[in-house]
Symmetry: C2
Subunit: 131 residues, 2 copies
Amino acid sequence: MAVTFEETTREFLDRKNFAVLTTLDRQGSPQSSVIWYKLEGDTILFTTLDGRPKARNLQRDPRVSLLVLDKDDAYRTIEIRGNVEIRPDPERLLSKELTPSYLGQDPPKDPDGQSRLIVRIVPEKVIPFSV
Amino acid sequence: MAVTFEETTREFLDRKNFAVLTTLDRQGSPQSSVIWYKLEGDTILFTTLDGRPKARNLQRDPRVSLLVLDKDDAYRTIEIRGNVEIRPDPERLLSKELTPSYLGQDPPKDPDGQSRLIVRIVPEKVIPFSV
């Protein structure tokens, strides 16, 4: 069952923090990497290339954990557990939005023959942590 | 098969960075949290209370992913995938070492009746990432 973000969670997630995404490989083992993301309603969006391990993992098993780290306070995090929905992004709209937002520059060209995806995390559980 | 850390990996891991640990719950879904850790040889040590979700998960399934983030450069990370070995730490030796190291103070008292564990991650794969 999807959840609604509380206001403090929404403010935290809207701050352009980094997040560690974990997906499950073919054996069900966890794999993690850092991603950029964007809040959209009560979901989280990120982008990946279709051939990447995380994309292949998510096409097989939609379960993720996302650990978002406060960029100014490493002792403040929010964990989001949920499932993803994937759709193509042939015009790379999300890259064109996220790369300038995080890096202040346009995204580099994607490798030939690789298509880009938008992945939406639909949260099922939100776990804030602070010390 | 266990791996040997390269020297650059060892230097990175020896820098008291934060790390995001992912374990698997009863359904095989990923759960993530931030941990302190310590390098020991070609393994990583951390501590947790016996009753914590991550401890229960690891007692059931020893597979983990550990994403270590460079505290000075969020675009530099190392992912370690491996399996854990768990042993009791009745004298809380690892807490007494890690808390001063990260926080500059002694660890707080543990909750009554809860025992502390030392968890050793034995890496099977090491994946450095930098942009």
